[in-house]
């Protein structure tokens, strides 16, 4: 179509950046996990854009795999959050310094 691929890449970069900022700023571990999902989505946009620009569908297949990995990551990550919440009664990452003594 008439939309240049650079626009998609720029949007992808901006969304990825917002995800990075979310991981760095927020203390709530659930929001940090959501920011990671946002970053995965930003990467997916660039994958699909490049797949369309080159006319090769394998980039889209890769996005399916990324989505599966995101689902697995969310399931295990949130299970870890629940497990830590049981012991610490908190979702603040500053309270998650389990390896300190």
């Amino acid at each position: 179509m008439e939309i240049p691929v650079d626009w998609y890449l720029a949007l992808s970069a901006i969304l990825f950046l917002l995800g990075v900022i979310g991981v760095l700023f927020r203390r709530n571990v659930i929001i940090i996990l959501m920011s990671i999902e946002l970053m995965l989505n930003a990467v997916n946009i660039s994958l699909v854009a490049l797949s369309q620009a080159t006319g090769d569908v394998s980039g889209q297949i890769l996005v399916f795999f990324v989505m599966s990995v995101a689902a697995a990551e969310a399931a295990v990550g949130l299970a870890i959050v629940i497990a830590i919440f049981r012991n610490k009664l908190s979702v603040d990452v500053n309270d998650f310094n389990l390896f300190k003594h």
């Binding site: 970069a13 854009a49 569908v57 889209q60 989505m67 689902a71």
Partner: protein
């Protein structure tokens, strides 16, 4: 409604929703902002002729993953969530790192105009992303990665069951 106009609408809403997710105080509204963002990304997939991917995006992300997130937010005690956002040194460091990353990425995008092949045949891209095209690639070239995804999901199932199950006292 030209495609460019549609792209700008979706992009602006997507960025606004991402910002809303970052600055929302309650995790529930954060999750709702992220769902809006995911819907916009699904719309962007449609503008790129990836129809099946757009449907899957809504189905998996907005339908399943965000439900899990909202579930966990409800599962945990609302009163225990951090109420005040801290603005400490991490904000400064994060801002500098973010700007550096943006500069790097935009430099990479701006300087890579020869990334694309000179000639892209429009005929091949038009059909891209329909279920048939995706299935043909998925079950022939990507058969082995598909099995690996099965193993990954199995590992995630077992891991999540082990982690989340309440350890019953013997």
């Amino acid at each position: 409604m030209t495609p460019q106009f549609l792209f700008f609408c979706l992009a602006i809403v997507a960025i606004t929703a991402a910002l809303g997710m970052l600055i929302a105080r309650s995790p529930v509204s954060s999750a709702l902002w992220l769902i809006l963002n995911l819907f916009c990304v699904a719309g962007l997939y449609l503008t790129m002729n990836a129809q099946f991917l757009a449907v899957v995006q809504v189905l998996v992300y907005a339908g399943a993953i965000m439900v899990l997130f909202l579930f966990v937010i409800m599962l945990l005690n609302v009163a225990a969530l951090p109420s005040v956002r801290d603005i400490d040194w991490r904000l400064g460091v994060g801002f500098v790192l973010g700007v550096a990353l943006l500069a790097q990425l935009s430099y990479a995008i701006a300087s890579s105009t020869d990334l694309m092949p000179a000639e892209v045949s429009l005929e091949s891209t038009v059909a891209t992303g329909s279920v048939e095209v995706v299935a043909k690639e998925l079950f022939t070239r990507f058969a082995m990665p598909l099995e690996m995804i099965g193993v990954l999901l199995l590992a995630a199932t077992i891991g999540a069951v082990l982690l989340a199950r309440r350890v019953s006292p013997k």
